[in-house]
């Protein structure tokens, strides 16, 4: 298998269907030999059925209990191993060219993890790489809220990328033992990237195409990241380099 696309999902069937349709379009524009879409049904009250999702060739991994994002991602990767994985949120609609662009960036063998630019429905940037500031701010989305057209389209090499659309090499993922399942919700992606860079794995973020991210559709609780954020700071405070604010 060349690529397994792992989509952890809980309910929101219509949203998931749209996500898969966009993904299928993007896959069609790549030169990949064999790819598989894996939906990890993370304890949805009504289990997904293949006929709910168009196209129907999606593989569904059913978890009867709801697990963390990390655990669901790891389970998907374990069940359908491939040379590369793309972890995708069910509220990300990939641009038709985004996947081909990410694979093109992976042609540089030094790259082990690649993200892609995500925008909000009003064309403002949601994600184009993660920077780190000093103090309580910690990791933050670079250029968040900026109009996408105003931000450079050159590929960047940030310290981390979001797990909402993250491609990773199998060897790197295996060496890192996947996402750390201690993170209940959020920051597992940043943790993975920081651990990867300690091993010399380079991270890139494709900027050429805007993919839509309907951020936090599945969980809008204001304190949804708190436990993970606390764990992240407990583990990493003082242990990452400071990109600083966006003035420099």
């Amino acid at each position: 298998m060349d690529l397994s696309v792992i989509i952890p999902s809980w309910g929101l069937t219509a949203l998931l269907r749209s996500c898969v349709l966009h993904l299928d379009q993007a896959l069609a524009r790549t030169q990949l030999g064999k790819a598989c879409i894996v939906v990890v049904d993370n304890g949805s009250a009504i289990p997904y059925r293949p006929e709910d999702l168009a196209p129907p060739h999606v593989r569904i991994v059913r978890l009867d209990l709801r697990h963390s994002f990390s655990a669901a991602c790891n389970r998907g990767a374990r069940d359908v191993p491939a040379a590369r994985y793309l972890f995708l949120n069910n509220d990300v609609f990939l641009h038709p060219n985004a996947l081909a662009d990410m694979l093109g960036i992976f042609a540089d063998h030094r790259i082990g993890i690649c993200g892609t630019r995500l925008v909000l429905p009003d064309d403002m940037i949601q994600h184009c790489g993660v920077r780190f500031d000093a103090g309580e701010r910690g990791p933050y989305h670079q250029d968040h809220g900026q109009r996408s057209a105003r931000v450079s389209r050159a590929t960047t090499f940030p310290q981390a990328v979001t797990g909402a659309a993250m491609m990773i090499d199998h060897a790197a993922f295996a060496t890192l033992n996947g996402f750390d399942e201690a993170f209940p919700f959020g920051y597992e992606d940043v943790d993975l990237c920081l651990r990867a860079r300690q091993l010399g794995i380079r991270i890139a973020c494709g900027q050429r195409w805007d993919s839509l991210h309907l951020e936090s559709t599945s969980n809008r609780k204001p304190d949804r990241h708190k436990a993970s954020r606390d764990l992240f700071f407990q583990r990493w405070r003082g242990r990452y380099s400071i990109d600083g604010d966006e003035s420099g």
């Binding site: 300690q198 010399g200 794995i201 380079r202 003082g238 380099s241 400071i242």
Partner: protein, 296 residues
């Protein structure tokens, strides 16, 4: 894997130079992390370099790894690991002589005087990798207080005290324990920089002050005389004469000389742009550095 091994993350030029060099290697495609005690990362300058725990790294590395270091005290411990060693030479203390004599260690030098030292002591043709100033120091046209002299009291505070007593027309701005951003802003707003660190290796602050458009009045340094040229880019005076030199260059009639020193200082500092060091690194790779690094 490659690791730049450092003894800490305190506010010392050698720490910043190490991180900056690791960052340039990363940009050149070299897999590298900085190994520090407790995998702590400095927060006093901007950087995007990954850090790893020094103790764990030293315990786990082997023949396929490369360790870069700059502090001579680290040499015995790192040598015992059996890894390839690269000495990033940032000084000319005789303590480094055994390292220079070890032919298994690749020697990189940051400036000319260190390169000459390696040749004299061990007949080593060290690879020049240069040194650079962060872009944040280069003067951006922000208004300057011509009556303000910045200085760093950590080294040579007594010399600065004498200067304060001697030159009443200037206000003195101590820079101590500040982040790089704050330090750069202070220098960019100051008319003068008083360099008081006797026996300084290279004296990065004086060069940063030149970039920031300060008139530099400094004691001689060991390795930085390539940029610190008396009457051309700076006023260089022995510690006892430093207050008089500052008084002389800051007096009303010396405006043209100050402007000339400032211009030539800024031109000199521009030779130490990161972009120029990047070019040196490319040449260094071809000169043998590439073979000393680990590509696994």
């Amino acid at each position: 894997m490659n690791y730049y091994v450092l003894p800490g993350i305190g506010i010392y030029g050698g720490i910043k130079v190490g991180f900056q060099f690791a960052q340039l290697l990363t940009e050149a495609g070299v897999p590298i992390a900085v190994a520090t005690p407790g995998s702590l990362a400095p927060s006093w300058f901007r950087c995007a370099q990954p850090v790893a725990d020094r103790q764990q790294i030293v315990a786990s590395v082997g023949k396929s790894d490369t360790l870069i270091f700059s502090l001579p005290h680290d040499y015995p411990e790192l040598k015992a690991t059996g890894s390839r060693l690269i000495f990033h030479c940032q000084g000319t203390d005789p303590l480094i002589n055994p390292i220079l004599h070890d032919r298994d260690v690749t020697v990189l030098t940051c400036w000319e005087q260190a390169k000459n030292y390696a040749m004299i002591v061990a007949r080593r043709d060290a690879i020049d990798v240069g040194i650079s100033i962060s872009d944040v120091f280069f003067h951006d046209g922000s208004p300057k207080d011509e009556q303000c002299a910045a200085f760093m009291p950590r080294r040579g505070a007594a010399i600065a005290q004498c200067a304060m007593k001697h030159v009443r027309s200037l206000r003195f701005l101590p820079i101590d324990g500040s982040s790089e951003d704050i330090c750069a802003n202070s220098l960019k707003r100051s008319g003068f920089f008083l360099g008081t660190a006797v026996a300084e290796g290279f004296g990065l602050p004086a060069l940063e002050a030149m970039a920031a458009g300060c008139v530099v009045v400094s004691v001689p340094v060991v390795g930085g005389m390539e940029y610190l040229r008396h009457g051309h880019t700076a006023c260089v005076a022995e510690p006892k004469e430093l207050p008089a030199a500052l008084a002389e260059i800051s007096q009303q009639g010396a405006g043209l000389r100050r402007a000339a020193l400032r211009d030539r200082g800024a031109a000199m500092a521009s030779r130490y742009r990161i972009a120029i060091q990047r070019g040196k690194l490319r040449a260094a790779m071809e000169a043998g550095l590439k073979d000393a690094l680990s590509w696994i």
